[in-house]
């Protein structure tokens, strides 16, 4: 009997937990409320299936548990029942798959008028690049990455000269405008993930991945890395600010282009990757592993990275 009670409690308790617990998704800030809707449909269908199966089991245990004189029925097969159950399940599955594929089609179809923004991931920092006045991003090459060109922008590509470079800072996006996020990594896998946007995508060295979204409300949101990228993975945070068009233009005007940065690179220290010598070389020789590297990183980067590293060291 304890089994019956526990099974019923478990089914009912799971439903109540779902309905009453304070833990639910964070309010959405993009057009992907279609995704939320599909999740809701899936919760309904799977919730009903789960509750039905567990309660039916509880009933079976209650009704058909062994008592003296009980005998089991002998019924090897029941084609009709099996047929009905298979058909019902197929419909349930189709009811989840159809909206899923419908929304996926939207997800992979980038609107023609989407502007492009490039996100660059590296251990353990986010950088961004916006097309400048020409509206086009210049090409890039990992081999071109150097202290004064930390994103590897192709110097010979005219389209890249006016690109706006944001290293380790905030990304701003205008509200209500579709944007195609082009994702690039220079070292290992990362994943650009903003919980409020719902969308995410891995960043893979050697290729450019993408997804698109339309921010639907202004605000400041946290960027997390969602693909394990080494010991600093949890500290790889960034900020995306969704602005009104006015604020966005004001912010945009303050940013520096690639050619401006290149011109001043002789006179000013670029917050690039390499400080003195080779950090990874030092760390490996000392045999202190990845964390030493991380410490080295902190020395290279100064205050912004120090907070990151400090929280890692706790």
């Amino acid at each position: 009997m304890a089994v019956v009670v526990i099974l019923v409690l478990l089914a009912v308790g799971s439903v109540l937990f779902h309905l009453l617990s304070p833990w639910w998704w964070t309010p959405i800030a993009s057009n992907w409320n279609y995704i939320d809707n599909t999740i809701t449909i899936t919760f309904w269908i799977t919730g009903i299936a789960f509750t039905a199966v567990v309660l039916f089991m509880a009933y079976c245990v209650l009704r058909f548990r062994h008592r003296p004189g009980n005998t089991a029925a002998y019924e090897p097969e029941n084609r009709r029942l099996e047929g009905w159950l298979a058909t019902g399940t197929t419909f349930g599955v189709a009811a989840m798959l159809a909206p899923g594929l419908f929304v996926w089609n939207q997800f992979v179809t980038v609107p023609q008028d989407a502007s492009e923004v490039e996100v660059i991931g590296q251990q353990w920092l986010w950088s961004f690049r916006l097309p400048g006045a020409d509206g086009k991003l210049g090409t890039t090459e990992t081999r071109d990455i150097a202290p004064e060109n930390s994103l590897g922008v192709n110097r010979d590509d005219a389209a890249g000269q006016d690109d706006i470079i944001i290293e380790g800072g905030e990304l701003h996006l205008p509200v209500g405008k579709p944007v195609k996020m082009l994702l690039r990594s220079v070292d290992v896998l990362h994943d650009f993930y903003v919980p409020e946007f719902r969308a995410k995508m891995d960043m893979v060295p050697g290729m450019i991945t993408y997804f698109w979204l339309t921010p639907t409300r202004t605000g400041t949101f946290e960027i997390l890395c969602a693909e394990l990228c080494g010991v600093g993975h949890p500290q790889m945070r960034g900020t995306v600010v969704v602005d009104t068009e006015e604020d966005y233009q004001a912010w945009l005007a303050e940013q520096q282009t690639f050619s401006q940065l290149s011109a001043s690179s002789e006179t000013r220290a670029i917050p690039g990757r390499v400080c003195s010598g080779s950090p990874s070389g030092i760390a490996t020789e000392q045999g202190t592993g990845a964390f030493a590297l991380f410490e080295e990183e902190r020395k290279c980067f100064g205050p912004a990275a120090t907070t990151v590293a400090a929280s890692a060291a706790q």
């Binding site: 799977t46 989840m96 290992v188």
Partner: protein, 592 residues
């Protein structure tokens, strides 16, 4: 309509081959250590798997201590945390679950259930175990190498797995891990060929394929899959080892690591993911199908009722096995592969839900109008259905490509796969051990300790992993040593995390009761007799318990019926063993 047990009274085929003479051991060493007896090999596999599994259990405690009480334990720094999760995952999936189901249960049950004297290649079978043991030793040794074990996550994704930002990436860790996996696959192949050939060629007279117990169907199909899937892991490991040691670039594009241009160029990290998941998704079913098979037999035996829809169950196992080879990229929806693949893989993934659901229906319909004995194996079987249904249904979230986008790489995934391929199969393992321990040792496991073990494990495991889904729904990413401050979460998730950790410690402690029970009952358990559960399948009909080398004494069994003649109307007992010719007469072996 009822023709699955066809053949009552039909003429038996004549024996095709003579009964084989086995290699008989001459000394204690060849009898108990370098044994060629599949039953001894099974016990060796089982104890080794459980031993390394205990390491994984301790690691899970350490992981949960960090997540539940971040910053409290200085020992668990970020580097160690990633090493712990990596080793925990790899041990559980490969070295515990795969080894225990196939090497352990497969070795013990296949020859007995199909009515063979032993596996068909006993020597290769023995080698299989010793190579597996070597793989376990290499894996465990990586804890003691400079830099410690790899912290790349159990998926070992390059490039980070072989770079210095990851623990063990530039040290020994990743090399030891890849070597151990390569050794494991070699050892497994020797065992796997044995299981397949024994099922196909070693069956007793009258044991047609459609009379095999579902346990054998599950293990057989899983082994065929493993033989096809493990080579993908094997080559992926070899290629990554070359990348790491010889400077090839299979998986390595041009990379700038910490400001330094590396010598790699032109490789594809996603290629590794395709290879890994071409192995990794069938792997899920390599663990699940034996569990499906075993739980079918547990439910049928302890509900005293034939398994509902036997043929449908067999076909569901085979279809799931086949489909599982064309769903692998559902692990890669947000990997950066061509997003149009999503349409195909979401469709195949959701199609696989149909045969899986049919299996669930047939389990509960076996309970329906049964005569349910709430023994420990039955309790664990019920717990399996609950946790498997729960975990299977959350798979419909993650398999449905667009729903996966927000949930991928969050704690929802962790909760899902622990429920469906951690908790559920382990419930079956426990049920199976309580069920077959009497055959293996001749004694029953202690009931009181078993009850404590069951209730704490079942309720505790559910309390760990059910709420964990909601952490993922909020957006908490997986593989975070510490989430720290994050604007999108409420602070109350810290309490939820602490609760989950306390439950994890409790469930872990209950396993100590189980291990103690295994040892204690060896001497003090109640004498079981030959067939304590009054079961129909052949392993319960052996002349001696525990069965000696060769299993069947002088004469091999002959099979007259399917494995599920429980509560046949008109029969004097509520079960008719497979080797009994007519329903009316009980053969002498079955009187316990």
């Amino acid at each position: 309509m009822v023709d699955v047990r066809s053949g009552i009274g039909e003429a038996l085929p004549p024996p095709e081959v003579e009964d084989v003479e086995l290699y008989h051991p001459h000394s204690w060493w060849t009898r108990y250590v370098f044994s060629q007896d599949a039953k001894i090999i099974a016990i060796q596999y089982g104890t080794t798997a459980i031993a390394i599994g205990m390491v994984a259990l301790v690691l899970s405690w350490l992981i949960r201590l960090q997540l539940g009480f971040p910053g409290t334990f200085e020992l668990i720094d970020a580097e160690r945390y990633y090493q712990f999760i990596t080793m925990h995952g790899m041990i559980m999936v490969i070295y515990l679950l795969t080894a225990l189901f196939l090497g352990g249960f497969g070795n013990y049950l296949i020859p007995l259930m199909v009515g063979a004297r032993d596996m068909v290649f006993p020597y290769a079978n023995m080698l299989s175990y010793w190579i597996y043991l070597l793989a376990v030793i290499v894996l465990a040794a990586s804890f003691f190498t400079p830099g410690g074990p790899t912290g790349a996550g159990w998926t070992l994704y390059p490039p980070q797995a072989v770079l210095s930002g990851t623990p063990g990436g530039r040290d020994w860790g990743i090399i030891m891990m890849l070597s151990s996996l390569i050794i494991f696959v070699i050892g497994f192949t020797m065992g796997g060929l044995n299981y397949v050939v024994t099922v196909l060629q070693g069956r007793a007279r009258g044991m047609t394929l459609m009379r095999l117990p579902l346990t054998v169907w599950g293990i057989f199909t899983a082994t065929v899959m493993a033989l096809l899937a493990f080579p993908a892991l094997f080559v992926a490991c070899v290629m990554m080892l070359f990348d790491r040691l010889l400077g090839t670039s299979f998986f390595m594009p041009a990379i700038v690591e910490m400001g330094e241009q590396l010598q790699y160029g032109g490789g594809s990290p996603i290629l590794f993911q395709h290879l890994f998941w071409f192995f990794g998704h069938p792997e899920v079913y390599i663990v699940a199908l034996p569990a499906f098979g075993i739980v079918s037999d547990l439910i049928s035996t302890h509900a005293r009722k034939n398994i509902f829809g036997y043929r449908m169950m067999v076909w569901a196992i085979v279809i799931i096995g086949g489909l599982s080879f064309i769903v692998w990229a559902h692990h890669m929806y947000v990997s950066g592969m061509n997003p149009y693949f999503g349409f195909f893989f979401a469709t195949t993934t959701l199609i696989i839900a149909v045969p899986t659901a049919i299996k669930v229906y047939n389990w509960v319909l076996t309970l329906w109008r049964g005569n349910i004995h709430l023994t420990l194996p039955m309790l664990f079987a019920l717990a399996f259905i609950v946790t498997f249904v729960n975990g299977g249904l959350t798979g419909l979230f993650l398999g449905n490509v667009v729903v996966d986008v927000p949930l991928s790489d969050t704690m929802f995934v962790v909760a899902h796969f622990h429920m469906v391929m951690g908790v559920a199969p382990i419930m079956v393992i426990f049920g199976a051990i309580y069920h077959w321990y009497p055959k293996i040792t001749g004694r029953m496991l202690n009931e009181a300790m078993g009850q404590i073990h069951f209730w704490v494990t079942f309720i505790g495991a559910y309390a760990i992993f059910f709420p964990m889904h909601y952490l993922g729904l909020i957006g908490v990413p997986r593989r975070y040593h510490e989430l720290g401050e994050a604007s999108f979460v409420t602070t109350s998730i810290a309490e939820l995390n602490a609760f989950i950790s306390v439950m994890a410690l409790l469930v872990g402690a209950a396993q100590i009761v189980f291990l103690f029970n295994l040892a204690w009952s060896l001497r003090h358990g109640r004498e079981a007799g030959g067939n304590p559960w009054r079961a129909t399948t052949l392993e319960w009909q052996t002349p001696e318990t525990p069965p000696p080398h060769g299993n069947w004494g002088n004469e091999l069994p002959v099979v007259y019926r399917w494995a599920y003649d429980y509560s046949v109307p008109g029969a004097p007992e509520d079960f008719i063993p497979q080797n009994q010719p007519t329903p009316g007469r009980l053969s002498h072996e079955t009187v316990s």
